[in-house]
Structure formats: C-alpha cells, structure tokens
C-alpha cells in the first residue's frame, strides 16, 4: 500500500497540479490564438508578471490574510488579476494593434510577441532581480498529511494548502468561463469571432471590445496560474520558457479555439509528463515475491529521466501535429 501512496503523492497530486496550471495557461493561449490568430509567445511571461504583481502587493500588505486564514497572496490575487488584465490590454493597444492594422502576416505578430516577451522579462528582472522568491512573507505554507486508516499504509498522503486552492480555483474558473462563453452576449460574440471574424464584423459585433475582453480573460487567468504555481513552489523570473512549450502543446492537443479542449489538453500534457518521469519500478516492487527466484525487477524504470521532462510535451506536440493537426476536439488549423 505504501507504493500506492507513493503513486498518489508523486503522480496523482503533482499531475493534477501541473495539469491545472497548463490548462489555465492554455485557455488563454487558445482564446488569443482563435480570436487574433497568432501564437502568443508572451503568455508565460504574463504569468510571471501577474505573480510579481501579487508579490508586490503581498509585500505591501503581508498581514492581510491572517483575518480569514488564507494566504495573503491569495486574498490580493484578484487585484493583481485586474492589473495584469489591464496591462495585457495596454500591451495589445501599444504593440499588437498597430501591427494588426497594417495587415501583417500572423507570423509577424508572433515575432512581435517575442519582442514583448523579452521586454517583460527584462523589466521584471531589472526591478526584482534574478533570484527566486517565496510568496509567503508573513505566513507559513500549510501542509496536510492525511493518514490512511488501518494498518495498510504507514506513509501519509501529503497535500499542501496551495495545491488545494489551485484545484478549487481551476474548477471554479472553468465553470465561470463556460457560463460566460455560452450564456453571456460577449461570450457568444467571442465564439462568433473565433468562428468567422468577417461575418462577426458585418453582423455588428464590436471586434475591438471582443479583443479587449479576450486579453482581459487571458491576463487574469495567467495571473491566477502564475500566482498559484509560485505559491506551490517558488516564484522564479525565468519560469517562462519552461512553461511555454507545455502550454502550447496543451492548446494544440485540445484543438485551437476550444477552451474545453485546452483543459483536456492541459491534463493530457500534465499527466503525460508526470507519468513519463515516474519510476514505475516502485509500483512493481510488491510483485517481487511472486517472481521465480533469480528474476530481478529493475530498480529504475522510467520512460525519460527527470532532466528530459521537457521532451514529453514536445513529442506530444509533434505527434498531434503529424497525426491529427486539428487536435483531439477538432479545432481549427489556422
């Protein structure tokens, strides 16, 4: 049973954590991709930016969380979400809109977003330095150890407070987004514009509003993902390039333009990563006694080493591009 607990701690919990992060990032990427038709490379840096906004606010009000019993960073996160959403709209107005107005090819917008990535990275590091930081300033991270009943397992299931918050938040955000996209006027306008921008424009949809709302949603979700990730581990300014590939893989696996597909893609990529680096020999250990004498089970049996974790989303991406470019949910091939 200890082996099963190990599996839960190392695969189920950490898989859900990284999947939720990827899913929240991929929703933003897929919305931008389907409405403005370019791959937004600066998305992971928006996550970092949002997390740094939260860190700045937390440094101003470190004690605010004590009143409710939640981390201060979480209480202050909505303010940072608004700040990042407005920043995202500002970035779009300053850097992407002039390019769009010139009718450039989408790939030029991609290059523009690379320029924005570098500027954001440079600014963040100029202001905040290059070291990693903890989001907990006046508090400590709560860690829950769930003892299993009975004699079966001696080790507890370990789960931390930010992981629970992350999971609850991700589910809430997805439900809210679903409600927004299917019930509200603006959400329907967004879907219309993603299906056919010209038709949407002639039927009287204000494309500028739709684009601004898209950036707000993307920025707010990126902030949440970045903050919750750095609550769970630490806040690093050079996070972005490691997040970018899994997020794009998740968006493309789910099918570009499908927010629900992006969630599914996030879970596919997140769990594929965790399962690929998991040492399967641990699960086989209880069966050692059943084998005939002389048979040895290998002590290390993982598909890829932890240092090659980044290859997993890449291979998923390539496989999906080769076999099913529309993604699992029949997205667009732009």
């Amino acid at each position: 049973m200890n082996e099963l607990v190990f599996f839960i701690n190392n695969v189920v919990v950490s898989g859900i954590v990284s999947s939720s992060i990827y899913a929240m990032g991929a929703i933003g990427v897929t919305l931008v991709f389907s409405i403005m038709r370019f791959a937004h490379f600066a998305h992971a840096d928006m996550m970092t930016l949002g997390a740094f906004f939260v860190l700045g606010l937390t440094m101003l009000f470190p004690e605010i969380g004590n009143a409710i019993g939640l981390p201060s960073a979480l209480i202050l996160m909505p303010i940072a979400m608004v700040m990042t959403a407005l920043t995202a709209v500002g970035i779009d107005r300053t850097f992407y809109k002039p390019l769009r107005d010139n009718n450039v090819k989408p790939i030029v917008l991609v290059i523009g977003s690379l320029g924005v990535t570098l500027m954001l990275q440079g600014l963040i590091r100029l202001v905040a330095g290059t070291g990693s930081r903890s989001m907990y300033i006046a508090e400590r991270k709560d860690i829950f150890r769930l003892e299993l009943p009975g004699e079966l397992a001696t080790r507890p299931i370990v789960i931390t407070e930010p992981q629970i918050i992350l999971f609850v938040f991700a589910v809430g955000a997805v439900v809210a987004l679903h409600w927004f996209l299917t019930r509200s006027r603006l959400g329907k306008a967004m879907r219309a514009m993603s299906d056919n921008p010209d038709l949407a424009r002639v039927s009287g949809i204000n494309t500028n509003t739709v684009i601004a709302v898209t950036w707000m949603i993307a920025g707010a979700l990126a902030t949440a993902a970045g903050t919750l990730l750095s609550l769970d581990v630490t806040l690093k300014p050079d996070l972005s390039f490691f997040l970018l590939l899994p997020i794009f893989a998740a968006a493309i696996v789910g099918g570009v333009g499908h927010p629900y597909g992006a969630i599914a893609g996030g879970f596919v990529v997140g769990f594929a990563e965790t399962l690929a680096v998991f040492n399967w020999a641990v699960l086989l250990r209880p069966f050692q006694d059943m084998l005939p004498a002389g048979w040895e089970l290998p002590t290390y049996l993982a598909f890829v080493g932890t240092e090659y974790k980044i290859t997993v989303p890449f291979f998923i991406l390539v496989a999906i591009l080769v076999w099913r470019p529309t993604g699992l949910f029949k997205g667009k091939v732009l």
Binding site: A39, Q121, E307
Partner: protein
C-alpha cells in the same frame, strides 16, 4: 526605377559609413584587444544571421530555435578539435560503447522494417501499433544498456574526449550535423502553419540543450570542456590583438564565401522559386514548383549556416558550456539582427549583425551607468538604499533592449533598415 536603385545604394553606403562610427567608438574607448574580440564575435553572429535571413527573409520560415543549431555546431567543434582522452581509448570502454551503438542501429533497423510491414499486406493500423511498441522496446533496451557504460565512462575516464583534428573540420561537421537535424525537423514541421514551426523549433532547441547538458559521458555536461583549440595560433604565441585578428580574418573569409554563394543562389532560378513560394504559395504550386522540397532545402541550408556559425563562436570562446546556450543570446539576438538589418538582404543582415551586437554589449554598461546615476541622485536627494546587486540587474537591461528593438523595428521599419531589393527585369 533606376533612380530609386541609385538612391537605395547611396542610402546603404551612408548606413555602412554611419556604422563605422560606433565600431570606431568601441575600438577607441575599450582598446584594440576588446575591439577585435567584439568584431570576431559579431562576425560569428553574422554567419548565424545569414542562416536565419535565408530561412526567414528568403522563404518566410520562422525558426525560433537558432540556439539548438548553435549548440550542435558547438558540440561538433568540441568533439572534433579537443585532444583525445587516453583514459577512455586505452580501456575496454570504446568496445562497450560500440556494442551499445550497434544495438541501437539494429533496433532502428528493426523498427524501420516493421514500419514497412504494410507492403506485405498487414493493415496500416496494426502496423502503426506494432511500430510504436517496437520503438518503445528498442528505446528502453537502449537506455538500459547505455546507462552502465555511460556510468563507467564517467567514473573511469571523465568523458570520451575529442578526436584531436583541426578546428575547421569541426566547423564543417557542425554544419553537417545541424543540417541533418534540421532535415528531420523540417520534414515534420514545414508543411504546417508557420506558428507551429516556431513552437516546434523553440522546443527542439530546448531539447538539444537538455540533451547536451545531461550526456556527461559525451560532453562533460555542466562540468564544461575547455580550452578548445583555435584554427589559428592562439593568444599565447601571438598576443591578443594579432591572434584575434587572424581569427577574424578566417571568419571574414567564411562570411565572404557564404555571401558570394548566397548572392548567386538568390539571383538564380532556384532563388526566384523560393521567393515565389514565399510570396504566393498557391500560384507557385500551380506553376508546378515542388514547394515542399524547396522549403526543406532552404530550411536545411539555413541550419547548416547556423551550425557553422555556432561552431566558430564556440571555438572562439574556447569553452564548451551547454548551459551557456541561452534563447536570448543565441536565438532572439540573431532574430533582432535579421529584422533590423533587413530580412532577405544579405548586406543588410551583415549590417544588422554588427550594429545589434554593439548595442547588445554596450547596453549593460550603459544601464549600469544610468542605474548608478539614479542611485547617486536617489541617495543624495531622497536617502534611498541601494539594492546592492546592481551589476546582475544591469545585465538584464540587455533583455529589455533587445525586446524593445524588435518591437520598434516591427512597428516603424518592418522591412528593416536595408529592405530587400527584389530585382525586376523588364
């Protein structure tokens, strides 16, 4: 038409003359040894930029993974030019390693054979499933066979060592290796939309870096390999200025050769086909041009140039450090050079390479100066505390400057300072 060509040539000449001012400035303020070193590095970057300009400028393919090809060139230069490691060759480890590699080759042959099974009448789905299973088994076997040998090499000999051949051979091998890997990537990704190529190349660059960082038996990983021999006499024999100047002349010859070949290729029917595909793929296809083949060719050529440039750069730095390959230094800097200079214009690309490299190395001292000034003013006027790590922060100003440069160029000079001149024959 003729007049505008004239005025454009004059503009190019003026820009080149203007460029000599910052170059002279660096030579005068920082000394000749530093100036020559900067010129060599700028020249190596110019080779990389020429590689990117044929992919992005000639053919409109956006490669966001220049770093990976630079690293491949670097590892080739290292493996070819570093002296052999007697600890490795005198033991029985080469035989062991050869056996593992033979297993790999046999495994690949089996997988390829299985992937051809549909010719014998086996359903395609079954074939795909069998191929994947076989590939997984071969992969796990190979990894398990390699692990003990790799461990033995690391503990007994450190790493396999080089071949002790001249450095210029390493540059050629680096180009070939980068071209080979580029062929595989291009084969998979070129048929897709350009965004996907950017994402895929970004990923492959990180994978190449992760691989080089972790195969300690081949590259010593984070322990780094140095010194790498130069193709010219080193600083110990001739002094800094002269030895670096010799190195510079070799890179200049390489650039001149590439420049000449690119010029011929650009104006040949092949070059016109490439431009036709870039500007209107559908009509080029309707004219009967083999689009996928041309695109693959140009992608591979670009990767070859990047491999050569990366090898030259790594040889010059005289250290192979896999962690030293950064997306910023080796991908986005090159990108900024190409789009500032003028994608598709070789002369413009050279101009951009030198100008952006000077901006790049001068932005950190300039930012430090500005920050120091700000601190002095802040301390005297408002009593600020200085955060203490200004040096490392000022270095980050380069990131911002390159990003700003890319954004400004796209906004105000989308065709670069020396736009591509498409010849019209009347």
């Amino acid at each position: 038409m003729k007049l505008s060509t004239m005025s454009q040539s004059r503009r190019d000449l003026l820009l080149l003359l203007a460029l000599s001012i910052p170059v002279l400035g660096v030579f005068l303020t920082m000394g000749p040894a530093y100036g020559v070193r900067m010129s060599v590095e700028a020249a190596c970057y110019a080779i990389l930029a020429l590689g990117l300009t044929i992919q992005w400028g000639y053919a409109g393919q956006f490669n966001a993974g220049v770093m990976g090809f630079v690293a491949l060139g670097g590892v080739s230069a290292m493996l070819i030019s570093v002296p052999p490691n007697p600890d490795f060759w005198d033991s029985d480890l080469p035989g062991e390693l050869g056996r593992v590699l033979l297993i790999l080759l046999a495994g690949i042959a089996v997988v390829v054979a299985i992937s051809r099974l549909h010719r014998l009448g086996i359903p395609k789905q079954l074939r795909t499933a069998l191929t994947i299973i076989a590939a997984l088994i071969v992969y796990l076997t190979f990894v398990n066979q390699l692990a003990p040998v790799a461990g033995a090499i690391e503990s007994q000999a450190g790493f396999v060592g080089g071949l002790g051949l001249p450095a210029w051979l390493g540059w050629i091998v680096g180009g070939a290796l980068a071209g080979g890997i580029g062929y595989f990537i291009g084969h998979i990704c070129l048929g897709l939309r350009s965004d996907y190529l950017a994402i895929a190349t970004l990923g492959i660059a990180e994978i190449i870096k992760a691989f080089l960082k972790n195969v300690d038996w081949l590259t010593r990983g984070t322990a780094t390999v140095s010194p790498l021999p130069w193709p010219t006499p080193g600083a110990g024999e001739l002094g800094f200025v002269l030895s670096r100047s010799l190195y510079l002349s070799i890179t200049a010859v390489v650039i001149a050769a590439i420049f000449f070949l690119l010029h011929r290729a650009y104006h040949s029917p092949w070059g016109r086909t490439i431009r036709a595909i870039r500007d209107n793929e559908v009509s080029a296809a309707a004219m009967g041009k083999d689009i996928n083949k041309r695109r693959l060719e140009i992608f591979v050529f670009g990767c070859i140039l990047m491999g050569i440039g990366g090898a030259a750069l790594t040889s010059f730095n005289s250290i192979f450090d896999p962690t030293g390959y950064l997306p910023l230094n080796h991908t986005f800097l090159v990108l900024a050079m190409v789009i500032l200079g003028g994608p598709g214009n070789n002369l413009g690309t050279l101009f951009g390479a030198i100008l952006v490299y000077i901006i790049w190395i001068m932005s950190a001292p300039l930012a430090l100066f500005l920050m120091d000034t700000a601190v002095v003013i802040g301390q005297s006027w408002f009593g600020w505390e200085d955060p203490g790590n200004l040096d490392s922060r000022a270095l980050q100003a380069r990131v911002f400057v390159i990003g700003l440069l890319i954004s400004l160029v796209l906004r105000y000079a989308p065709k670069g300072l020396m736009p591509e001149r498409v010849p019209h024959h009347r």
